[in-house]
Subunit: 199 residues, 2 copies
């Protein structure tokens, strides 16, 4: 099915053009025409694949999430088996934070989407879609930590998971603004995890 | 100096028009012309006060910060004197979170500004301006907690301050997306503070 593959490749190339714009100048006011120009195709060709900016954003975001998940999986596979829950949480958050160009791009596209989602209920549903899965994953690690005697049994895994997600998002904001240095973000994350996991 | 007062009032009225747009549909793509229309004045009249969208955003943000500081001060004055550091931190964060229309508006304008600041170094310097002052205020409360024997002396006040700021920002994101309910945000904040302050 070479034709199908071509279509998917074209969609990805368009999404990548969107990312480049997101990184260079942000998506505020960027039109489908701008994206088509960046991708080196006509607006009509682009519209063959995406009929609206929101549709393109959703695709670009899913594509980015897929890449991020792949990077997280690669990181986790490098941990000794079975991996310690604390290491799993640390490596996952470290990969989510905008500490390199790829995750910085991912975060910028996500923020562009987030800002649009604030004023569009349909987009909002989509924007918060990933939260429950991430929360369940983090909560599972905290539960595993409790089972291994590394986390106090009085901790609520679900609450700890949401605290860690909120902390990650807050650190992301400050890293993107250069209000927090990468080294400091790492130390703050370790301080937080150090209090969740008993030595 | 009635003329001067009028000028300041006019600037505030324009800023308030910007806020209404920020709340209703976001500032993505909103022009000075849109703001002038919302304020019921001509574009020329608006430009007499603000020559660019960024200039207006800076003013609107400072105006909002001033109002937010006033609300925080009012909340803190209601606490028994001398107020306990834990209560000061709790009340301050509660006022910063988008839990009512006014602070929701403040957060939406701040995010609109933040998104522009990501791609503009000059704006970025301005966007992160408030962080050191807030951080110093929070760190001072943690230090006071240590002095009162309510916080373990091993805690780093400056790191704790930044963790609390990051947590506040992360909870803000999830509250704005309705990915986190107000009651849950309160519980998470209390859980975090409960671990910083020993009973």
């Amino acid at each position: 099915m070479p034709k199908r593959v071509d279509h998917e490749e074209r969609r990805r190339a368009i999404a990548e053009a969107l990312w480049r714009i997101a990184c260079a100048r942000g998506l505020d006011g960027a039109s489908l025409r701008d994206v088509a120009a960046e991708a080196g195709i006509s607006l009509g060709q682009l519209q063959h694949y995406f009929s609206s900016k929101d549709e393109l954003l959703v695709f670009a975001l899913k594509y980015l999430s897929g890449l991020a998940e792949g990077r997280i999986r690669t990181r986790l596979m490098r941990l000794a088996a079975p991996p310690a829950p604390r290491d799993v949480l640390r490596e996952t958050v470290m990969e989510m934070l905008p500490l390199d160009d790829e995750s910085r791009t991912g975060n910028l596209v996500q923020i562009a989407y987030f800002v649009r989602a604030l004023h569009d209920e349909r987009l909002r549903d989509h924007a918060k879609e990933g939260v429950p899965a991430l929360r369940a994953f983090f909560a599972g690690q905290v539960r595993e930590g409790i089972a291994r005697g590394e986390v106090e049994a009085s901790r609520d895994p679900d609450a700890e998971a949401m605290l860690l997600i909120a902390l990650t998002d807050g650190l992301t904001t400050h890293l993107l603004l250069d209000a927090c240095a990468p080294e400091e973000a790492r130390e703050l994350l370790d301080a937080h995890l150090g209090r969740l996991f008993t030595p």
